[in-house]
Symmetry: C4
Subunit: 277 residues, 4 copies
């Protein structure tokens, strides 16, 4: 019985170190973690460069496996010390933590996939917690809220774009044909996306007069509808901005509710009559 | 006489199945329709890929004709069972339903046009009705309204763009000339559209110093005027958003002031206590 | 004396036909003018296409001169019949009318400049007046006002861009150098404009690692500052929109001034006390 | 003692000439300075053009050194006459003034860096002060304020973009590989930036089907998230615009209500008559 409690105590201690950042040990752990993540990502990025790869391949492979095993141990430890294990495993950071170690193991079967381990850069988002960058978290939150609030409009917008590029792609395929680079409809759809989003690689571009005319129409269309997501986002951000600015003003001296309009003469929560200052 | 009524009854039954989606049969019909549309579009897209086309051409042609004949029968049935036939035929979905079957027939005369049948992907917009995605319909409606409300401004804007690209195209043709890819004014206008919309394929690009300077001016111009449609759209969306948010709220039964917040318990103008419903 | 009055009368009659569009003759004149402009522009555009130019050169030259002489006569007539001649000559349409005829004459000295006559397409803006498209004029007016109201901000913005591209261009020239297409600083500045405006032709693009890194920074910068003109324009349009929407409401029954705020209890122009309805 | 005062007097006189622009001598100094800056920048830009460089190299080098020595003397004089020397040296203009002369000296060690002296174009920002373009300064100030106010949101946004392009770059490197131009992860990250910002050079572009599909997703993503900085900027500009328009106006001396329109002659809350100033 005593041993079990000891175990529980240890678990709790580790939990504080690994998941929280309020104790010195917890802070140290997070700082070491952040540097390990950064280092392992830089390692993978540099490894992909041919000239370095040739010279230091052994070093890269060693470093890769060192960090992967370290992160694997950390992942297992996280699962071990946390109480609600499935909640963590299927949480955003739980999935990212798993994705951060998988690629190296998979690369044993499919060489090349180890580069996907850069996905562990997403773990850096923990940095916000460690350094108490709460102001930035608040800003990030506003952006996230605006995105969420407009997610439905954006989904409708993206579906329309998806239908549009299929139709545009097929029409362009009929107009230009495989002779001018539009070798099949999927490629033409790819061209339509490249054009409508105003990216314009130019790897495929219309050569015939009719094709160039149709492409011009598509471009102007893309130029005009880029206004839609911008408008959506602006309105949502503006609404959130106004809300923040208008609900932090007057406080009722009677019921302490805040957020009264400037021209209110009675508290809208308790009916207390405001005395003009 | 009885036979005629029977016929009417049958028509009504079919109408409910084909045009509505409230009965199980109607729902089933819509689901089958949606999958048929998706399948036939995928078929056409895959058919256009050279390697598959060579191997399975018979299969593709068969599938194509199968779906086209099915959709033709459906189209005829729709006309048959609906009372106000011309209204349907010239409605948006009526035209789309017709355009969805025409290309296969036309391809007998002009091979290659069968690819245009991907236009039947537009029929998928019925999906909103079937799955009662009314929330999304509302959002789509807001976007549609904002576009309509600003259609005049957008038309004025697009006309200005049209005049602008003709003038820019001609000036660039005089500056660069056929020697550097600007082989005639229509091509130069195409280049002007590609540049002004910031697409920038690079299939045609200025080579002379004067041309590059003029192109730079055009680009900065394009960069500045992209603000116009965005501004228009944002203002319209914002107006619709504000309308929705402010005109649907509460009126005080005592002093008739309106515009109270949803969580207000007292009128902010006269202090009257609201009774919860 | 009588002859002079006759002359004056004639001038006035012509003035009504040429400058106004309220009489049938004036309307007819404008319609003929619009078609002539369109036809002559199409003529020039088609002339520039090599294959047509070879076959029908005589026809093109004849048509060109026919329209130019016609427009010259019209221009002289306009000056003759109008009273305040210098005002017309230096007005927007006066300058456009002159620019519309000059290129053909200049082409006698410098062949090729006749293509610049497409500038006469700007004369089409008269179309708004002829067809009483006053609604569109109003919308165009709003856009023009918003552009004017924000012209100072836009000028400051464009100056900053101008300084920025010179600095970016020079830095990139030092980084990449003539070996990789950045053959001198003007060309590098051109590349900076192409990149910062997100046009991205790709005719010149960084090849070295340092260059690609620096270019990435420039691109993200361009991506971020495109927000500036859009923000400016949106705010101006929004202000105009709100003004239009808010100044057309309450009218004081005493002094007939309009544009009172909804919560005003006294007329802000004459002090009349409003009676609550 | 008298000599020291004389020295002080001289310093003060020079200070007025060099740092201020209210005396005729100060104005002349600034005008000469502006022209020198412009001339020396043009000199460097023209020098980089191969054909001119070959012919007039001696002239360019002479001009370069002439302006550099002149600016060096000016820089030393500025430090000499100003009282709070370190404040000036580390101020924005102090740093720019130093950077404006360094490249020429550095070019003795590393030839080619003299082109970096175009950075002295930043000194032109003094032009605002000289010509009393205070209106423009105000506008520039608004833009600067909006940028500052939204700097945190923009930083969060840019960090997200940075993480995103690393992940996208690595995924694309695994999909396409060195065979199709994505020669290592840094290059792939560069491609991700080029694509996400909709610049789209096309120097590297996906060739495989999977790569083109993934690129399409990235493009649509970039198209959607360009809305974010625009929204941020618009909201900030809008807030500044509203503030300027509503909080700087009139207060009724009778009832102390504020926010009266500029053309109001009576208080809209108590009916008090305003006295014209």
């Amino acid at each position: 019985m005593i041993e079990f409690t000891e175990n529980e105590k240890l678990k709790r201690k580790f939990y504080k170190i690994i998941f929280e950042a309020d104790t010195p040990a917890g802070k140290l752990f997070d700082v070491v973690l952040i540097w390990s993540i950064l280092l392992s990502v830089v390692l993978v990025v540099v490894e992909s460069v041919h000239e370095y790869n040739e010279k230091y391949q052994v070093l890269f492979t060693a470093g890769e496996w060192f960090f992967t095993i370290m992160f694997t141990l950390e992942y297992m430890l996280r699962i071990y010390v946390i109480r609600r294990k499935t909640v963590y495993i299927f949480s955003f950071f739980g999935v990212v933590d798993l994705l951060a170690i998988l690629p190296t193991y998979i690369s044993l079967l499919f060489p090349g996939t180890q580069y996907l381990m850069v996905i562990r850069i997403l773990r850096l988002m923990r940095v916000f917690r460690v350094f108490k960058l709460s102001n930035y978290l608040a800003e990030a939150n506003i952006l996230r809220k605006a995105l969420l609030a407009s997610s439905r409009k954006i989904l409708v917008f993206l579906s329309s774009i998806a239908v549009l590029v299929v139709v545009i792609g097929a029409i362009m395929y009929v107009i230009e044909g495989p002779k001018y680079g539009f070798k099949d409809i999927p490629t033409s759809i790819y061209w339509a996306v490249v054009t409508l989003t105003t990216v314009g690689y130019g790897d495929i571009s219309p050569q015939t007069g009719v094709g160039q005319f149709f492409a011009s129409v598509v471009m102007v269309l893309g130029y005009a509808i880029i206004a839609v997501p911008t408008g959506i986002m602006t309105v949502e951000l503006s609404a959130l901005h106004r809300k923040k600015n208008t609900t932090t003003t007057r406080v009722c001296p009677e019921c302490m509710h805040e957020g009264h309009d400037d021209d209110a003469r009675y508290c809208k929560y308790c009916g207390h009559k405001f005395i003009k200052d």
